[in-house]
Amino acid sequence: MTASLLYIRIKQLKREINGLSLYIIPIIAIAAYIAFVTFKEFQKGQNAFYIIIALSVLCLSIHFSRKDKTFVFKHLDNPHIQIFLEYVLLTLPFSITCMVTKSWYCYPILLIALFCIPLFKFEFKQRASFKKLSHIISATNFEWISGFRKQYISIICLYILAIAFCWLKILPLFLLWFLTIIILSFYSECESIQVLREGNKAPKHFLIAKLKACITYVLILYTPIVIVNSFFNPDFLIINLLFIPIQISLLAFAICFKYSSYTANKIKIGNNLPLAIVSMGSALPHFLPVPAILFIVYFYKAKDNLKQYLDD
């Protein structure tokens, strides 16, 4: 059956939508907004080709990272067509609108590009970079080791840029804020119960240890840049003084938020959206205390949730 992969995807999508509950509304809103922006760009005609390239590259990167290729090519009928259809459907809301604009010729180009993508059948095997990382970051802070390996290019680039421009107003803080958003994603996986219980800590002490480790790394990374920035921009001293506590409260909230819904061996994809919303909010003056308030609320929720795993 040629549509069997699509049938599986629809089932998975339904399950994800159920899991997201009301969070699906902002996701649909963002997708609708992007679809609207792409339609406008297709009408103007200037950036149409770049949108098509971006969509093709997006599908290519998904194709390289997907782990079901061997299964699909081995067990499904017409695997090439099935994967192609999947990418066509995925890009449809952001590409089909070009058919009613003067950039209509982009759509057949996109289809040709998408048709070629399933021809790449090989799978990338992840290599262990930075093998001695546990000499710098303690293995008990495995979230940081794992997160750094996943995102080291972005982390290093952002940090070097923040150092390079540390004498400028706002820009280094913006880069560090972006770095905080990357660090938030370190806490999206729930470790196994064996790892959780290592050290036999009570829920409160367990959370404090996690928070301490995170705060230490953030202080080591952010403090030198903020000090230099304050030296060059004394008029921004108050903003600089508030910056690190806000980033710490954001990360503290992320840690407590994860453990408030901790389920062993699960990846909490649904947590990403609320975290993204709170981190966006933390950049707006009126919402600055929000992460700190949420941290306090979720600290107690996390403590309660962990009781079932850590208390006798």
Binding site: Q126, A128, F142, S146, G147, E191, R197, E198, N200
Partner: protein
């Protein structure tokens, strides 16, 4: 003595462990066998306190069993992404002074500098096993430890279990393959519909096959011959 008193676990309407009361001798290897859905993993989860029982007590020498008392090897092992085998092992403090990684590595040959997500099922099982052997716990719970292991490692695992017994540890093992249990266990307990219905001493191990599969063989023989 590890005593289970009136242990019950239900999932919704479904009773998985049904008012179990049982005593297990310490320093022995206890095999837990049962057909699919008998409640083996739920029993282990209750023993390791990874799930809360609805009712009942689990005691060790008259004192409630604690999380610190058990090391638990689950059937399927989960590892944080982009972590190497070495880093995973470093997460666990070595409380077992005799544990020597290099010695185990002579047999397991794990690529400890590689990411765990690139490991095979058997390699992941070996890594998880090493992590629990690093710890000095009185009770080891091994749920399907022989699954996915190669022949040599199966034999090494049997030797590990025997050594744990000699060191006075209490070991609980389940397995879908009866043979390794026959060589390692002091007693094998038959779990059926959430209750232990019979325990076998070593001298009675030859009766296990009939007790476990007798009914199934009786029912299935005719059905299969009709269906084929």
């Amino acid at each position: 003595m590890i005593s289970i008193k009136n242990l019950s676990v239900t999932f919704g309407e479904h009773v998985v462990l049904n008012n179990i009361s049982m005593n297990f001798l310490e320093g022995h290897v206890h095999g837990i066998v049962g057909l699919n859905g008998a409640g083996k993993t739920t029993f282990f989860n209750a023993l390791a306190k990874t799930l809360k029982a609805d009712e009942g007590l689990i005691e060790k020498d008259g004192i409630a069993l604690t999380i610190k008392d058990t090391a638990y090897l689950e059937t399927v092992n989960f590892f944080y992404s982009r972590i190497t085998g070495n880093e995973y092992l470093k997460i666990f403090k070595q409380t077992n002074a005799d544990f020597n990684l290099q010695t185990f590595q002579q047999y397991f040959k794990l690529p400890l500098d590689e990411l765990v997500e690139n490991y095979s099922t058997g390699m992941k099982k070996k890594l998880a096993l090493l992590a629990i052997l690093k710890q000095d716990k009185p009770i080891f719970i091994l749920d399907e430890p022989f699954n996915g292991l190669d022949l040599e490692t199966n034999k090494i695992l049997e030797l590990i279990i025997t050594t744990l017994k000699q060191k006075g540890k209490t070991v609980f093992i389940s397995s879908h393959i009866i043979e390794p249990l026959l060589t390692t266990c002091n007693e094998i307990h038959l779990l059926e519909n959430g209750r232990f219905i019979k325990s076998f001493e070593q001298a009675e191990f030859n009766k296990i096959d009939d007790a476990l599969f007798g009914k199934l063989k009786e029912e299935a023989t005719q059905i299969i011959s009709d269906a084929l």
